[in-house]
Amino acid sequence: MSLFYFFRRGSAPIARERLKILLAHDRIECSHPDLLGVLREEILAVVGRHISFEPDNVRIRLGRCKTTSTLAVDIEIPNGCRQSDVVLRPNRLPFGSGLDSNVSTTNQWVI
């Protein structure tokens, strides 16, 4: 990014920044069309092996800044959850076929 860039007027710099952000997103999506879906299932399966939680209380977000992206997984765990629950139900997967409608997946565009 040269000095010239800062003094350059016009809409081209906006086009350039929009494209850079958009293409970072496109490339992830095209190389792995259902990345969020796969991540969600696998993360929930791993967490569900140890902790029981309501599928309704799960939020997965992909955030994007200029140079980095973030993956945020929010799982609400009831306060009454004890270690014994974990041991008693090691293979429990706390979601079924209706998972898609229960998990909120949002794309955050942070510029």
Binding site: R8, R9, S11, A12, R16, L19, L23, D26, R27, S31
Partner: protein, 278 residues
């Protein structure tokens, strides 16, 4: 890049994703430029149902058989090839205007491309727009790709998508090899880019991370050439876009040519009469 080590020719695909960026114009101009430099060239129209390469080359009234006829075994390749009237070593294999793209088969295309490869120095495949069957088959057997891009957001985005496909769905990619990619920026306006009204070359190169083959300036000569059915490199070889295409063709042959954006030289009469004389 240069030619393959054996006797076989190079197979190029001219592709873009987005329509109207100059694929057909560039195919005709580069094909004619290479043929003009003594290479034996065939340009193949893959835009089944919407053929236009014949029109840009001024051969529309000479089409008898087409690519689909050859694939179906209805005609021999030699019967379908049309020899250019101006350059004796430039040939056209037209697309069908009546059939649809499903008539193209992977095996059929492979056979035709292989036969062309043994008979020509350069096989240049003009891809249809989009990422459907016609476009993926046009790039399928290519050794190298020319990605035609306008310095404009939707064109750059689509080019990025096409680059992704070139790296994953071509026969070369499936064999674990890397397809050579060359970016050809068309309709470039130097003064608008300098004013920040148009994406600059460096912006496009940074975003697409692809080596540059050439920069074709926006010019009235391009439409003038297609109006009369002649590649711009033949119609007015001294015009700015023609010189840019000639430079790009030499780079394809492996020559190291400085990357300049040719500008229209205005004669005294042109300046005097402005648009009318241009």
């Amino acid at each position: 890049m240069g030619q393959a080590g054996d006797d076989k020719g190079q197979v190029l695909v001219v592709t873009s994703g987005k329509g109207g960026v100059g694929k057909t114009t560039s195919t005709a101009a580069l094909g004619a430029a290479l043929a003009h430099d003594g290479q034996k060239v065939v340009v193949v129209d893959f835009d089944v149902g919407l053929r236009n390469l014949d029109l840009v080359l001024g051969a529309e009234r000479r089409v008898v058989f087409d690519l689909i006829n050859v694939i179906n075994g209805f005609a021999k390749l030699s019967q379908a090839l049309i020899r250019d009237k101006r350059l004796t070593n430039l040939y056209l294999l037209p697309a069908s205007q009546t059939r649809d793209k499903d008539a193209l088969t992977e095996e059929g295309v492979a056979k035709v491309i292989e036969e062309l490869r043994t008979n020509f120095d350069w096989v240049i495949c003009d891809s249809p727009a989009g990422i459907e069957r016609g476009a993926t088959l046009a790039m399928r057997y290519a050794d190298a790709a020319i990605i035609v891009t306008n310095p404009e957001v939707s064109s750059v985005r689509d080019s990025d998508r096409i680059i992704g496909l070139l790296d994953t769905t071509t026969a070369k990619a499936e064999r674990g090899e890397r397809i050579n990619k060359h970016l050809l920026i068309t309709r470039y306006n130097t003064s608008r880019a300098a004013r920040g009204e148009m994406l600059a070359i460096d912006d496009v190169l940074e975003i697409l991370s692809c080596p540059l083959l050439g920069i074709i300036p926006e010019s009235k000569e391009v439409m003038r050439a297609s109006n009369v059915g002649s590649p711009v490199t033949l119609n007015n070889a001294l015009s700015a876009p023609a010189r840019a295409y000639f430079d790009a063709a030499r780079r394809l042959k492996g020559k190291d040519i400085p990357m300049l954006v040719p500008s229209e030289s205005r004669s005294f009469l042109n300046t005097l009469f402005g648009r009318k004389a241009a």
